[in-house]
């Protein structure tokens, strides 16, 4: 972050600190996952994808939860800062979610022989991605700030509330049909890189949300803030007008 001559408090703001911590943890975690941890017994080297995939999934869930909380706060308080936080976390959630799907496909191809499988988690995350993309699109379409706050937050709350039911429906859809093979559970020796990368993704997420929040909040709060009342116009006096002239 080469910020030219910026104030010290801006350099050390919580989002930047979190961003740097997240990037460092992620680098260390991924290095360990790629080069230090042994190859997985069943999946071989391909199992290394889990060190990037699983942390993304955890972080993604947390980011969406944050988005839901911010949406609730925005609805409850009507404050622009929560509206901005909602949008920022929805953006980061969509980013993580998209990455999650890409990683999932790349893991599924060598493991299962297909890029896509209707695994409940994969399917659910695809549906949730579309839901939150919808929320972001909705926010872009609405120009009036108060309306955007209300409608955007309502859409986010509805989308998030549906996640568990989406998951269960997809799971039953598969399991009532045929048993679905779950990926191997994670054994102890792989936990360190997983944990490092997970905290890395979470801190990075907090940092990214903070970064976007800062920018969005400036804009949203400016739009929502009350400008000064226009100056009082003088009261019109009658009886002094010329022919057709204004007073």
């Amino acid at each position: 972050m080469g910020s030219e001559g910026a104030a010290a408090d801006r350099l050390l703001s919580w989002d930047r600190v979190s961003l740097v911590i997240g990037l460092l943890l992620l680098i260390v975690g991924h290095y360990q996952g790629l080069f230090v941890a042994p190859a997985e017994a069943m999946m071989g080297d391909v199992g290394r994808i889990l060190y990037v995939h699983v942390p993304t999934a955890w972080a993604c869930m947390l980011v969406y939860t944050a988005c839901f909380v911010f949406a609730g706060l925005a609805l409850w308080s009507g404050k622009g800062k929560w509206d901005a936080a909602m949008e920022a976390s929805a953006e980061v959630g969509v980013l993580y979610n998209a990455l999650l799907l890409i990683q999932g496909s790349l893991w599924a191809r060598p493991t299962w022989g297909v890029f896509w499988t209707w695994d409940p988690r994969l399917t659910t995350s695809a549906i949730v991605l579309v839901l939150f993309v919808g929320v972001l699109v909705l926010r872009r379409v609405i120009t009036e700030p108060e309306r955007r706050l209300n409608l955007g937050s309502i859409a986010a709350v509805l989308a998030y509330a549906g996640v568990p039911i989406v998951y269960f429906s997809v799971k039953w859809w598969r399991t009532l049909h045929q048993p679905f093979s779950s990926p191997a559970t994670v054994s102890d020796s792989f936990i360190t890189p997983l944990r490092l990368a997970a905290f890395g993704m979470i801190f990075l997420g907090i940092g990214l949300i903070g970064l976007r929040w800062r920018a969005l909040r400036r804009e949203v709060e400016r739009e929502l803030s009350a400008p000064a009342l226009p100056a009082a116009l003088p009261t019109l006096e009658l009886g002094q007008r010329g022919p057709g002239g204004a007073a």
């Binding site: 790629l34 017994a41 069943m42 071989g44 080297d45 790349l106 022989g113 990214l208």
Partner: protein, 50 residues
């Protein structure tokens, strides 16, 4: 009839490094792209700010 290809367990999978590199590479590319965009948008000053 089910249209879904059933995942096959083929014993120990060997190789697959292109997929691993792809997964890590695309993840980092995505994260850094978003970070760059966020920084750029954060730098852009609103017109009315002093």
């Amino acid at each position: 009839m089910n249209e879904v290809v059933e995942p096959v367990a083929t014993g120990v999978i060997t190789g697959g490094w292109p997929y691993i590199i792809g997964a890590y590479g695309l993840t980092w590319a995505g994260l850094l792209a978003f970070l760059t965009r966020a920084v750029l948008l954060g730098r852009a000053r609103p017109p009315e700010s002093p």
